[in-house]
Amino acid sequence: METLELIKEETTASKVENISGSEAVMRALIAEGVETIFGYPGGAIMPIYDALFDHDETLKHILVRHEQGAIHAAQGFARTSGKTGVVFATSGPGATNLVTGLADAQIDSTPVVCITGQVFAHLLGTDAFQETDVINITTPITKWNYQVTDANEIPSALAKAFYIASSGRPGPVLIDITKNAQVQKFDFAGYKKCDHIRSYRPKPIVRKEYIEEAAKLINEAKKPFVLFGQGIILGQAENEFKAFIEKAGIPSAWTILGLSALPTDHPLNVGMLGMHGNYGPNVLTNECDVLIAIGMRFDDRVTGRLDKYAKQAKIIHLDIDPAEIDKNVKATVPVWGDCKETLPLLTELVDRKEHKEWLQKFREHTKQEEEIVIEKEMHPSGEEMSMAEVVDVLNELTGGNAVIVTDVGQHQMVGCRYAKFNQSKSNVTSGGLGTMGFGLPAAIGAKYGAPEREVVAIIGDGGFQMTLQEMGTIMQYGAAVKILILNNNFLGMVRQWQELFNAKRYSFVDIQSPDFVTIAKGYGIEGKSINSRKDLKAALQQMLDHKGSYLLEVMVGKENNVFPMVPQGCSVAEIRLK
């Protein structure tokens, strides 16, 4: 007996290694399967960077030009790869520069783990150099955050971080590690992945009776309508979703983050919801009898005026996050759970149907929209190019196989409205937060997340100037991102609102741009600027054919507006076509 115990002790002892906290961080990242890190070093995270120096073959570190770029890149990476993005930043300004990206990842449910350095534990609260209270600053914009002050906590803190970031409704997690914990040697007994936290239930339990009730409603419906969001993509339930709508024959419209979960040319894909969405989905929201919301959260840009939103309909809401049910729109039947599990259960119970007449109604609305809006957008009568025709030619050349990253503004709405997608995880955009400057760094990350795919970043002249320094990252690491700037020499979306609602008082939207092609050249990125329709196709082809990164600036109409539009404070049925 004694001998046995002795042997046991010895084997455990041999497994225990005395390593630094920083080395433990590396072990954790490797164990979690991390291959790419986006980061920027600084004083308080130096020990971690020192440890990284020994692992540069396993852990590829992309040095960005600004920490905001690091987190947006990690978001782009997560969106195209389905994995968790990882960010390193130092204390103080390094960490505060992550704030916008954290807020963006929080509202768009993107799994990201940020590791920030922090001053020595004994200096906490002394206003030390580069000390900020990062934990409290980031509390409202993280799914979870934790400050490590002792190296012994590092393995379990990181295990929890990765588990929390990627499970349930994903989100950003920040781990703040004081410098003393990074250098501290401790007995490391191996890294154990986390798969359970008692106070955290990532998936609510599926309740069969609600599925049955939902199926009953769907089977009785004459005019059922599906709204789907990013939940489908995050839950990797694209096939389950398709099987469901195909069996029940329900027209389906997407939120901006749900885009690409269902191929554009799928016969049941009726288009985009919301403020600049398609005509049919908005108008018919207020005519359907059963509204089935899947993995979406009824954002105000989707619902318009809430008290006039789908009041005639019974609402079925499928979501993994119980806090989303009834938050904005009261559900008649809540179906809580992971849609990868709930959708097949629902599919089994629904009757096979077609709803031809109802689908035809969507087609009629599409036709109207085509006549009044789309036709003009695709084939403008004037000399000036429209954003939509650029996207249309791009579709033709990529065949809908590219990852399309957009920034925020008019080009984003146009990009999402007109870009074609054949496969999921192909649309990367800042939806909830609407972060200008998101596009370029997110595209870099998206390329690392899907290196075999073509990544085209469609960006406006305003947003590009917010983070164009990340061309330096492209220069250094050669991410073959195609940058397509749609330049209207205006902050177009705000200008559109000023035109429509502020009597054309164009207050500070007239933004000047530098010579983008020359700037790109300075970063070793080839480029071209065109302002004539006859050059469009060839220029886009040249951009796509180019081996490395390429910047194409297309000058587009200065005062074009994005339509349709649901004006703020109006109901979705009051959508304007012009």
């Binding site: 934790y146 400050q147 798969d195 359970h196 106070s199 609510p204 339990i205 009730e213 039947v333 809540p334």
Partner: protein
Amino acid sequence: MKQEFTITVYTENQIGLLNRIAIIFTRRKINIDSLNTSPTEVDTVHRFTIVINETEDVVRKLCRQIEKQVEVLKAYYNTNDEIIWQEMALYKVPTDVIAEKAKVERLLRERGARVVAIRQDYTVFETSGHREEIEGLIKALEQYSLIEFVRTARIAIIKDSKGFHAKLKEFESEQPAEELVENEFLNQQDKVFSM
């Protein structure tokens, strides 16, 4: 209609959680009337008792946002008739006033006040009870040179609660039991099938 609700939150004992919970209210510009943190009958579990004045709809949403936090085990909300609650208060009164005025002595006796400390210049009393009782005594004492007053947050016990031991077992199990009702308000929500 707005009314007083008592929110009981069972949590892990974690630094920063108070802030995480508090900002759920402050973000929505909701005033916290009273907040108490306390250990529970279960060793490692903490409990927050929060009182706010809001509509039930808002309170329900708040509870779901609270429960969404990783370190929160459970959040309940109750109206005043569903709980037993107490608040405690300390009153500092000049000793000579009590010594001289029989009325004050009677008043304190009637209100069940207990002496905590007696000094030559002042005496500290303590009472516990509902808000109105405590406020009643302040009012009465004001005319007798009340020097200082402080009241605690509300602490409350839910009448039909069976404690947290059994609940915790469910949380600790890796696979939740079939009969575990994750969000029990679902069962009470008779409006769910409102067709």
